[in-house]
Structure formats: C-alpha cells, structure tokens
C-alpha cells in the first residue's frame, strides 16, 4: 500500500491509496481524481494522464521511458518533471508520493 497525494491545479489535495502493481494513473482513476482523463486506458497512447512529480520524489520515481517520451509530445506545458502516470507502477517505495495534476489534460 502506498499513499499518493494528487495536488489539483487549485491547490486541493486528494490522497489515494495505491496498491502495489497498479499504476499511478489507475490509482487516480479509481479515486476519481479530477484532471486525470486517461482516454486510452493505460496503453501509453494518448498523454491524457500527464502529471508533474514533486521535486523531492523525482529520483525515486525515475526517468521516462522512450515510448512515454514520444507520447509527451502530445501533452501541453511539458516540464522536466513531467511524467505520464500510466507509466509509473505503484510500489511500497513510493509511499508518500506527491504529484501535481495540470489544469487540464487536452
């Protein structure tokens, strides 16, 4: 079990319990976190589960994979800490993870 905090664009925080093996995207969808659209359902084919990893967590979460890097071309306002949440697997090591949700996916 890993607690994941989704920080909305307006500052509201939603805390969700992630189960190891699930993705951060699935955790968000299960907890109905606004701003995570996940149109393609996790196939890394749409870039509508774009999130920003809080600085202190970037190293633990790790780097983008090449497919994800390509797909981020379809996101808006991509930053150094941008990730697609469907490509991050929840694990105990990510307990306490904090991520920001963009104003809107597009």
């Amino acid at each position: 079990m890993a607690k994941i905090t989704f920080i909305q664009h307006n500052g509201t925080e939603i805390i969700a319990n992630g189960v190891a093996g699930m993705t951060v995207m699935e955790t968000a969808v299960k907890h109905q976190v606004p701003g995570i659209d996940a149109d393609c359902g996790g196939a890394c084919a749409c870039a509508t589960c774009h999130i920003y990893i809080e600085p202190e967590w970037r190293e633990k979460v790790g780097a983008r994979n090449p497919m994800e890097e390509d797909m981020l071309d379809f996101a808006f306002d991509v930053r150094d800490n941008s990730r697609l949440s469907c490509q991050i697997k929840v694990s105990d090591a990510l307990d306490g993870l904090r991520v920001k949700v963009p104003e809107k996916q597009f």
């Binding site: 749409c46 071309d73 808006f76 597009f106």
Partner: protein, 342 residues
C-alpha cells in the same frame, strides 16, 4: 447539393466492428456504405495502435492493429462495401416511415433503411492545445488541418509538433509559404526519417527555421495572429512572427454529433438492447465500443458478436415479410457463393 446515395445500410465507423458488420450483413445479401472521419479503415486500430500487438482476438494469438484491419478488409471484400473516408456524419434524421437521411461534412447525402453506429470512442478530432485565447484565432489564423494548400501561399507559417503530420506539412508548405518555422518541444522527431532529413536540409539551406520549445501565448488582433510566445527548453522566452499557425498534437476522440440524434445515452455511450443491439430509435443500431448495456465489455470480440445479432434484425427491416434462414458458412453453398469460394 450532391446527389442522394440510396442504400440499404450506412455504417458509421470503419473500425474492426464496422468492418465485421459489412461481413455479417453481406452474408444476408445486404449491401452497405461505410463512412469514417479518418482517411483510412481501422479506427483506433489504425490511428492509435497500428503496431501494438492485440492478444485477445479468438484464434489469433497475436495480431497487430494494422494486420487485424487488413484481414477484416479482406473478409469484407466479397460484399463490395463502398467506403467514404474523411467524412464526419453531421446529421441523421428520420424521413418518411422507414427511411433515414444522413448528411456528412463533406456534403454527402445518404438515404437508407438502417443505420449502424460503429463509431468506437466517437469521432477522432484534432487536439487543441489549451493556449490562452487560442479560440479567437481558430479558423482565421489557427488551423488544425490543411484542407487546401493554396490557403497558405505567402503566409508566415508556424507549425507545431514532431510527428508525421507536422513534418509533412512543413515540407509541403515551405515552398509556397513566405516563411516557415517548425516548433517542437525537443530536438527529436517521431516522423519518418526521410521527412526529418528533408526538414533539416531546409533549415541548413536557411529556407526555414527550427525552434525547440513550447508555445505559451499568442499576440494578434481580430483573429489575425501576429506572433507566438515561445518558452525554450532552458526557460528563456522568445517570439516567433507568424500570421498562420498549425498545431499538430495528435487526435482525440469525442462523441461529437452523435449526441444530437435523439438517441438514449448513458455516460456518453449509446444504450442498446442485448438481443438486437438496437437503440431507442428503431432502425438505428449501435455496435462495438460506442454502445452500452448491462455487463458490456469493451472488447473487439464483443463488437463482432453484436454485429452478427444486429444483422438479423436489419434483415427484417430491409426485407419485410421475408423468411430469414439461418445458415453456416461451412455447409451452405448459398453462403459460399456469396463469399466467392463455392
């Protein structure tokens, strides 16, 4: 106004379920026209994951989206479906007792007895980047597709993106544009290597500009663009002078005009029964990912099943009073003749 095309059935959507509907209707001697907003068959299989393997098609342990599409096209071929690509259905209305009139944004008009909506996740539409104030320029100086190249002659064009659409239009429009700038968030491109090389040659020859960064805002007045504000990879801001902008951020699926046809919807899906997969409007059916009913699974194989059952009821509408004989393709010479194998 174009001539009206009269046909038994119009299928909206040329994805896997739409294509298999052609086959099931064909076995019952019903001919169809198939419309799709994309420029080719396959739907999501063609647009989203042509190369990705699919593992849950019965009897095909592994098939790619592109291969599944080409196999379904082959299976439908004996029934000579007529395809109309790049067409979005804009209106669907009942006319007379038993007919529907269907119009597209490409000015096609159909008159038919049965409509099958096999539109998957809805219409593929270009993704519109949420740049503040972009709406004021859309259709005037910001475009999401190129309908006529001539419209870009003499313009200062800014193209955004790193895929095939962006690179193709950079290379095609550069000779007629007054100036051409390509903006992409990184110096790596997903487009075909040939088009990337061609673009790099144009840059080397000083015929166009390549900028790495992302658009954050626009300047202009009355819908006429003057410049785009660009944030570079290192965070520095700069301006690109342009009076025309073409953002290519891929496609997204939207339900679109389907919502306006008087059909019962449930969470943006079309409600159908599980015997005939018919909507609340008799004669309009929905199969595949776009429909919903208790226990619905969004699987390609579910859509195939739905198409077979739906075809039975379509036969009754098209041939009122005629007896529908159930036959197997393995044993029926009649069916085998239709398939061109007997």
């Amino acid at each position: 106004m174009a001539d009206v095309i009269n046909t038994d059935v119009v299928i909206i959507g040329a994805g896997p379920c739409g294509l298999f509907t052609v086959f099931e209707l064909g076995l019952l001697d019903i001919r169809c026209h198939v419309l799709d907003i994309l420029d080719r068959p396959g739907g999501q299989c063609a647009e989203l994951y042509p190369e990705k393997p699919i593992y849950d098609i019965p009897a095909l342990p592994l098939v790619t989206g592109a291969e599944l599409t080409s196999r379904l096209m082959e299976q439908a071929k004996p029934f000579k479906p007529e395809f109309h690509f790049n067409q979005m259905v804009t209106s669907l209305v009942k006319c007379g007792d038993n007919d529907f009139e269907l119009k597209t944004d490409g000015d096609l008009v159909f008159n038919c007895k049965v409509v099958v909506i096999a539109a998957g996740g809805g219409s593929f539409m270009p993704k519109k980047p949420p740049i503040p104030g972009i709406e004021a320029y859309e259709g005037l100086s910001v475009f999401y597709s190129v309908k006529k190249m001539e419209a870009f002659r003499g313009k200062d064009v800014l193209i955004i993106g790193g895929g095939d659409s962006a690179l193709d239009w950079v290379n095609n429009l550069q000779p007629i544009a007054n100036s051409m700038t390509l903006l992409h968030r990184r110096d790596e491109f997903r487009a075909a290597p040939d088009s990337v090389n061609k673009m790099r040659e144009l840059v080397a020859e000083g015929k166009m500009q390549l900028k790495i960064g992302q658009v954050t805002g626009l300047t202009g007045a009355n819908g006429v663009l003057a410049s785009a504000h660009v944030k570079g990879a290192d965070g520095t801001m700069s301006e690109v002078t342009c009076n025309t902008m073409l953002p290519f951020f891929g496609l997204t699926m939207k339900l679109g005009p389907v919502a306006d046809w008087g059909l019962n919807l449930h969470e943006n899906l079309i409600s159908v029964d599980t015997e005939k997969f018919e909507t609340n409007v008799p004669g309009i059916f929905a199969v595949g990912d776009i429909n919903t009913y208790p226990g619905k699974l969004k699987l390609i194989l579910s859509g195939f099943h739905e198409a077979a059952l739906m075809a039975q009821q379509a036969f009754r509408y098209i041939n009122p009073g005629e007896r529908l004989l159930f036959q197997y393709t393995t044993s029926s010479t009649n069916l085998q003749k239709k398939l061109g194998v007997a």
